[in-house]
């Protein structure tokens, strides 16, 4: 691929630039909003947004404590790092849960829900730990729904797909006749 752009004609270059200006017809405004807010949330650096943490007395302190070792790294990094501390994922999950409760917009609720399940998925896939009381059947359904969302970024799709497979196996182990 390297160098190939320089042999292109003006129409080809223009067509490629237009790809960057397109909004997919299948994408709704809501999809775009969710994708945009989620991307920003995943790129935001840890510890978590202090202004949010300040409004969450129940978890105040814990985000900074558990996530102190990840200072300056992004939320996406934490979710995708197999060497991350599972306690940090628990903190992220709790943070997301509080965010869902306190959310006043549908987009924020959706994004917080994604973070919540992403933390659970990361713990399952990368640490082999279940950090929620939800049973595997419930989790499998939730991961399946999430995996089909068009706005879910690819790295989270892979994580969620992996968690879903683990849940399927656990359900089979628990109910061999299924």
């Amino acid at each position: 691929m390297k160098g190939s752009m320089f042999g292109l004609g003006r129409n080809q270059l223009a067509d490629l630039l237009r790809v960057g200006l397109e909004h997919e017809a299948s994408e709704t405004d809501r999809d775009r909003s969710v994708a945009s807010v989620l991307e920003a949330k995943l790129a935001s650096t840890l510890p978590l947004d202090i202004s949010v943490a300040d409004s969450l007395p129940a978890v105040l302190g814990r985000p900074c404590d558990a996530l102190a070792g990840y200072r300056g790294r992004s939320t996406a990094d934490l979710l995708l790092d197999p060497r991350a501390d599972a306690d940090a994922l628990v903190t992220l999950k709790d943070y997301a849960k509080e965010l869902v409760k306190r959310s006043r917009s549908e987009v924020t609720t959706t994004v917080a829900t994604v973070l919540y399940y992403a933390a659970i998925a990361s713990a399952l896939v990368l640490h082999d730990i279940k950090i929620t009381d939800h049973d595997y059947r419930q989790l499998e359904r939730s991961f399946a729904e999430l995996a089909d969302e068009p706005w879910l970024p690819g790295h989270l799709q892979a994580l969620v797909a992996g968690a879903r497979r683990i849940c399927e196996m656990k359900v089979r182990d628990e109910c061999p006749g299924r």
């Binding site: 190939s4 129409n11 080809q12 270059l13 960057g20 397109e22 994708a35 995943l42 790129a43």
Partner: protein, 249 residues
């Protein structure tokens, strides 16, 4: 693991600021980064100005070494904060006029060695047809350099996030038909080839990469234009330049 936006943290204006620093090694590295990104449009412009291949290569290196860094262009650049493409082009025009007045390629070789330009020896600007101005040549190659960075970055992100199949779909259905003029395969065919459960799923995967392409393009252009609002304007401006009647269509 680096985040998807990690590579965008070092952008053009910050590279320029680094190039203004006192640390010689840091200045040289920043210079090399600027040259790596922009030497092709500069070279294309100088070729179109009537310089031979060798002259244009020497002049390109001289421009970055002596003008961009040596004559305090980077200090002026900080004050301008406008569209970096236009700023660089204006500076290049002034440089080319100076070259015309004192045309001795060897004497223009900068003291202290040349900035290494990756691929310079083998790079050749496709010969434009008559009627293409040096400015248009610069802009064509600017667009090409920009798109090359974007495509490479999107490909890199897909690889980092284990989305090779996402990339394959995007490449087969979007990129290859544009760059090679090939007829794209059907989505059903690609689903069968890659073991994707449904065409809807495949469509979503392509949307994901297209969104990433857009985001990457925005991230690449944003530091070159000074504000979010100017990003679309800059891309539309490039589109207008590319859409004008002329060569290489």
């Amino acid at each position: 693991m680096g985040g998807p936006n990690e590579r965008f943290l070092t952008t053009d204006w910050t590279v320029i600021l680094r190039a203004q620093g006192r640390n010689k090694q840091s200045r040289r590295e920043a210079m090399g980064e600027l040259a790596r990104r922009y030497w092709k449009p500069v070279y294309a412009y100088l070729r179109r100005k009537g310089n031979s291949n060798e002259e244009a290569k020497d002049l390109t290196q001289g421009f970055f070494e002596r003008v961009v860094l040596g004559r305090g262009l980077v200090q002026k650049a900080d004050a301008v904060k406008g569209r970096f493409r236009n700023f660089l082009l204006r500076s290049l025009e002034l440089y080319a006029r100076g070259v015309h007045r004192a045309k001795t390629a060897k004497r223009r070789r900068p003291d202290g060695g040349l900035v290494p330009l990756e691929g310079l020896e083998s790079f050749n600007v496709p010969e434009p047809a008559d009627g293409v101005t040096p400015e248009e040549c610069f802009n064509f190659n600017w667009a090409a350099a920009l798109l090359e960075e974007v495509v490479e970055e999107v490909k890199h992100q897909c690889r980092t996030f284990h989305e090779q199949v996402h990339w394959e779909l995007f490449h087969a259905l979007v990129l290859k038909p544009i760059t090679e003029g090939s007829t794209p395969p059907s989505i059903a065919e690609l689903c069968a080839r890659h073991g994707i459960a449904s065409t809807a799923k495949a469509s979503n995967m392509i949307v994901t990469v297209k969104r990433r392409f857009r985001a990457t393009l925005m991230c690449q252009v944003r530091p070159l234009v000074g504000s979010d609002a100017a990003v679309d304007d800059e891309i539309r401006d490039l589109l207008e330049i590319l859409s004008r009647n002329g060569a290489r269509s």
